[in-house]
Symmetry: T
Subunit: 139 residues, 12 copies
């Protein structure tokens, strides 16, 4: 059975609570439970932290023995050379995802230190972005 | 039945012929046949042109009566305000795809005039990018 | 009788169809008929294409025997060195027009490769921009 | 009867005196008299100052009770946030005009703090620019 | 008794008149009267001009004998080297204030030629910004 | 009673120890005690961390049930998209403060990812900046 | 016998007609006839289009069976990622030529999307540039 | 007898009063009297204003009947397109002077809108700069 | 005996594990043991963290009582104003080191927020960089 | 007989010695001898120096009495305003050549201070670039 | 008697020979003889070289025992950090001069590495610039 | 015995003479003698020139038969593509050194054309930088 880790960066833990008219009232935990049911043939895990270094720690921890990592580094996407370096250093392929379309937002969100080292990038589909990323590992 | 149109921009017609050690020896036509079989419940079409304005023509033509458009504008992605305007003007949602990871290539390929108006963006997965885009319309 | 050619660039053919709450429900063809009536002493023609090179072709074709050209190059305004070169090369004076106020839109629309070679620039007056351009040739 | 105010910025008072081989030997006062005769159905006024703040004063003074303002802010076009703010704050629509084609001159003349807040922009037609601006209010 | 001078730049005289749904219908004069009552132990004065040089004149005039200056240079904040030089040259400490949050507006409003020479900066609190500036002189 | 939280970023814990000829020998804790006495009608708390993510954690924790947050993100002001996102996401209004005048220091300190989302900004008044921020919540 | 294709971009078809005091009154067709006579041992062909995509079509068509391509992409040189991609993708070596010295003209003509993928670049020699390019294939 | 006008811009009137340890305690009026004595064969005048438009007014007034203008536009040097335009428009040659070495100060003082249109530039010699400018008209 | 602290930033803990064909198979711990033996007259310690704030914590902790700090902030070198501020605030001199030649890598690695405040910089010598840094404290 | 001078800049004297797998093992002297034989009807000379000023000296020396100069300024191409000024000042036409394709190398090699003043530019053909330059003088 | 050294940079030796319609037909040697006569109370010397390092050598040689240096570094003005460093290092004051108005020429001539370290700058007066520089040392 | 060459660029010959309160009163020759004694097992040589091309000459001369080069190119570090090219072309490894911390000085000193091709970089340690560079060759 394939083992996939979803890693979420800062403020993703506010999902379902913050600006619910935009993001809806589904928390990431609820969403995660729904996809666990949808993909019974996969071992799915998820991790969230607001601390850049803890995201690096987690990438290093799972980066040599999982089959795939789905990474939404959120705000750190645009500023963290360290996360980009970790993605490049580990062996497990990483798919970068974003809930919103970062390219229709502020200019500083158009740059990513992660993309160049990712297996692929999926963004703008809301929570569906995570599901498409899972699909990308099932081919 | 859902009707999806795949629109490919310049030089995509060389697929399977150009730099085969990188892109493989599968032409887009061959690939298209394989996905047609894989998604029998969908009406799939595809169109390719090296001419910017013909891509705009096609977007306008299908942009009011198809369920989805999958657009790989290739080189025009980075220079065509006109294609971006067309994507914004029409009603059918457009998913932007790229075969290669444009963010690990030259700096001028990091900019897209299309992304901001797209439903979502999928890139870097090789030909699988098209399949994930199809999946995004099936949810 | 003076002979004027109106040349419209990409997506202008969607006028009256696209975002009608903004642009109104008048197509360019309808508008053209109304100005033909308003200026019976002029020979007025119009041409539209989504293809950059066809706009250049048309500029070359009419650029030596018409009395004036009214050019709304739309999206190509901001990216086409080729149209700018054609405007500079031909003999008929060219007035650049835009329906919207390009300076209250995205930064990339603030640049024009045409303006420097135009007889004059008129923008932001909606369809009235075309009428003011016609007036500019009647003095 | 419609009431229109023409506001001219710095050095426009030298017209007809400075570089006459380029600008001709018609002063703005002379030109103004000729257009007054040409548009007997309009109340036309004009004002000139070399002082940025006096232009702002005048915009505020007429900006709530005239039907239109024709503004050639000349050199202040490119540097005055204050005039741009005034144009945005008042209620009378403002048409920005320039005698010369500012886009075929130095790069710093390509930027305008006024355009984004103007009803429209007309430039490059010599003194005819003012007449086209008057026409734009007669529609 | 401490003597404080409030100096307001261009268009601040429109307060209470311009865009009242945003700025409210209180003119600066009315607001000034209310704070005069609130701080009976202070001598408060205010001055407004749309003319850059008159603001410099006033800064020079009061810059050697008042206890504090509260300066809202408005649009000139972003373009006036001369006001910045005056603030630097005089002896009375100057507190820079803005009614709106200039950092959530256009990019050109993020630069100030005054800040570097000011005692401090207070912005974004509406008219309360002036009161906080007064407080800063009372400590 | 109003409840206000002061959040301090990296190196603020060195206050009173580092460069005392500039910053004085008062630690933040001592200063905090003095203002607690000065504002007996308020519940005041403070928190400091050198870790970016812990500042985000704290903003999320108090951002739905306090009356105000006073945030000196120090060095993270200029680099943390994540803190800016948190300030934007929560409901409690945030006032940004700085002890020094960041605009008279290095160019990279002139940019703030927080300002655009703050209720207001106060900077350059030394420790008094915190007191003015408290005042701003008392109006 | 070696087979060489000359491909000319937009507005080159005006040669001999446009600004003859600069470019002379020789059309490209006349010039082509003269070089055909000068190089009887070569098969020479030429193609011109104002349409970017037709230039790409032609590059693809001859790019696998000719011995050399001489490309003057004119205005598209500076804006066409698509032509650059085609030059890179095909097998026939491409020599980039320009009639004028693009480096003594506007700054936007100093950039070429083609040069990096060309066998070599020759520019500034007038029509002789084409002949030098032919020579480069004869060595 | 030659007639020369010295025109001084904003804050020059503070000379001898502001930062006297740097600029000395000589006011410009005192200095002017000393040079009047030193050059009895010349008619020397001087004018100072903090208002940009008054400097333009003065340039226009003397720009057709004096033999030379010595212009220290101070802070407006770096921001005034209007003064630059006036210098270009008038007939009397203008020598640009600065008391301090503007090139060893802030970057924004390295740009001048006047230099390109001046007969010459002299800067960094303190008040001696004015005397060298006078000499330049005596040759 | 001199007391030196080596502080390593993110991903340095992967040394000997990541890209061993480049970095070799020596972990930092092994390397540290070897230099401990080589410098018996020194007290050497080392610390690693992926968390930016923990590096700041450690700098503050040892910055007043050690004789020297050798800092390889790795990815944080290029993005951390906070670490730079800490280096500047503490009293112990800091030598910045890098294993690789950061100037032959991506452009964003050419900037360091630490260098300006460091006693010196040593980079590009592989693990030998640390030894040269130790030598620099022995003079 | 025509007299041509070839001037080579810094490090060209290493040809045939440096990176022979790229540049081949032919020294420039050997190459020069071969072209001397190939063009018996020309007087050919060559000069090399690593010193920028000696290249200027040579350009001045031959710039009034030779029929043509072929200049490969190598590294100085990108930094020497002085060589560019000399090329502009002299009377003999100068053809700029480069052995490698400078546009497929580092960005700083894309700028040339010489091109704008050269008769023409030839680059990327290896040593053949020199021969094409000679041909350009034989027409 | 005061001892002054005039140091001229590259291509100044062509004066009187190059573009004589612009620069006149007076060589620098002739001009130098005329000013020697005009200032009999001074010891004047001059030196010219096209070699950057020889200009540095000369600055070092005279920089501790002459009363003044007049430096026209010509093209090196804009590119030579080394000459700027020498001017800063020596003790003799240096006046920077230019014959032409460098600010009405190409943008790259607007920057000088020397100005910031010079006693003063004089430019645009033709050869008179040197005489004004001599005057500046006589006060 | 290992043979090392120290190459010093412009103005280093002023050491011990220029700004002695900063650099001390030790000349490089004196310093060199002291390190010769300190490293009796090495053959040490040194060379200085103010002429860029002579530094290139020396690099070429020793670049194939010495064991190491220690290069302080001083001002040329920041402007010389030619020295960078030489460092890249030769076989002997080059260590770049600087006496001062170039990163705490002007922005233009933060760029080096040499670093990318150097074995390593050592800067900011005063004259000790040279000794650390020697150590780097002894490992």
């Amino acid at each position: 059975m394939k083992k996939l880790m979803i890693i979420n960066g800062p403020n993703i833990n506010l999902l379902g609570k913050r600006e619910t008219h935009i993001y809806g009232d589904v928390s990431f935990t609820d969403f995660f439970e729904s996809i666990e049911k949808q993909y019974p043939s996969l071992i799915l895990e998820h991790f969230q932290s607001n601390i850049e270094g803890e995201l690096i720690d987690k990438l290093q921890e799972v980066g040599y023995n999982y089959d795939g990592i789905i990474l939404n580094a959120a705000a750190y996407t645009h500023t963290s050379v360290g996360i980009g370096d970790a993605v490049k250093a580990i062996q497990t392929p990483v798919v970068e995802v974003h809930i919103s379309n970062t390219f229709s937002r502020e200019a500083f969100r158009h740059q990513s230190y992660i993309s160049a080292h990712a297996k692929g990038v999926i963004l703008g589909f809301g929570l569906q972005s995570y599901k498409l990323a899972i699909e990308s590992f099932m081919d």
